[in-house]
Subunit: 198 residues, 2 copies
DNA sequence: CAGGACGATGTCTGCGGCTGTCATCACATA
DNA sequence: TATGTGATGACAGCCGCAGACATCGTCCTG
């Protein structure tokens, strides 16, 4: 055993999440994770660029999903609609298996370094969505604004969804995302009505 | 000399920015920065939590300015207007001395770790503005959305301002921020007109 | 003006994150 | 059976960062 056990990366990711959740991120050593997965510290760093990255194992596929959803939105849909649809698609996937998402969020949210990395990932998502919007013919500025705004809405809404789960009353994540988007639209609309010239 | 030279923190920040700009962030050692400021590595870490933080020396005052501006917005102003006013206030201050801002941006933008820290600072700004909006009576969700959207607009617009300066054609940062806000409002408005029920 | 009190700095020491380098192992393939 | 290839282990080392303690300047007090 030891060497050549399959799926080293996945084992490391799983062991890391468990240990981070049990004893905290800072209190967990890279060597400890590796040992827990039957591997070496050196091998850990071959699979993950750093100790944080292991918590963002599946983020590439999320990015792909976002880009596909933006590209696949109806031709008549505006940039905000395309972004909203992409966020809802991701929300639906996450909602399928909420437990790992909640555990991961619990670990990330209590640590500064991990929150930073999370923001960086969301920034990657925004950049990718902006590029996908430009491919749809959306002008540069509108594409960037819509994509960045989308991730902002996602941040706020996901946090509310998690908090809501804690009290077992809030439910459908895609619907929450839709509602938040609508709310932000209202915030802008109200402003335009009451301060048209500002 | 050496000990008791005034303004150790400021000297360290200045030396760090210079060295980071000259030879890159990763290639610069904390001990090197300290030596360049006539101090010790240990003293460097007494003044700054880590090697990145030294580049965000004045961020506390920016946060104060944002909060004050949000709180001081006209009572009738909506959340988006208050946030927009706060961003413009910061933009005006930054524009007063654009050189350090540009140099700092050049250093930060080429390094992953520094971009992450920048995003974390902006997230702090958003949280502070959201709190200031709640103090104005804005409901929780609208406050968070407006504040996060504001920092999203800032990110996009500041990058464009810097890029524009490179070609010496774009100018007033507060005005650019106002225009971006208006553009994002249009993106939402257009969407509401063409897809009222979505 | 002597004598602390106190905060800022220097020195020493050590852990952990992360990397380069090379040997070694499992497996596929000829 | 030999050999190539990619994944892993073993070893060494740098640097970020922190704890502990000595030392130095400044200021306050008697």
């Amino acid at each position: 055993m030891g060497r050549w056990e399959p799926n080293a990366r996945g084992r490391l990711a799983k062991a890391a999440l468990t240990l981070y959740a049990e004893q905290g991120f800072e209190q967990t050593t890279a060597a400890e994770i590796a040992r827990s997965a039957g591997l070496t510290e050196r091998t850990f760093f071959r699979h993950f660029a750093d100790k944080r990255e292991v918590l963002f194992y599946g983020s590439d596929s999320v990015l792909d999903l976002l880009v596909q959803a933006v590209a696949g939105a109806p031709p008549a849909a505006g940039p905000i609609d395309a972004v909203s649809a992409a966020l809802q698609a991701v929300g639906a996937v996450i909602q399928e298996t909420p437990e790992p998402a909640r555990l991961r969020y619990a670990v990330v949210s209590v640590n500064q370094e991990l929150r930073e990395r999370e923001l960086a990932k969301l920034a990657e998502f925004a950049a990718a969505m902006a590029a996908a919007l430009r491919d749809r013919g959306v002008p540069e500025l509108a594409a960037s604004l819509a994509a960045e705004t989308g991730t902002a809405v996602y941040r706020v809404t996901f946090a509310r969804w998690i908090a809501g789960q804690a009290q077992l009353d809030l439910g459908d994540l895609p619907e929450l995302l839709r509602e938040s988007m609508a709310e932000l639209g209202d915030v802008f609309t109200d402003r335009l009505l009451s301060f048209p010239a500002s």
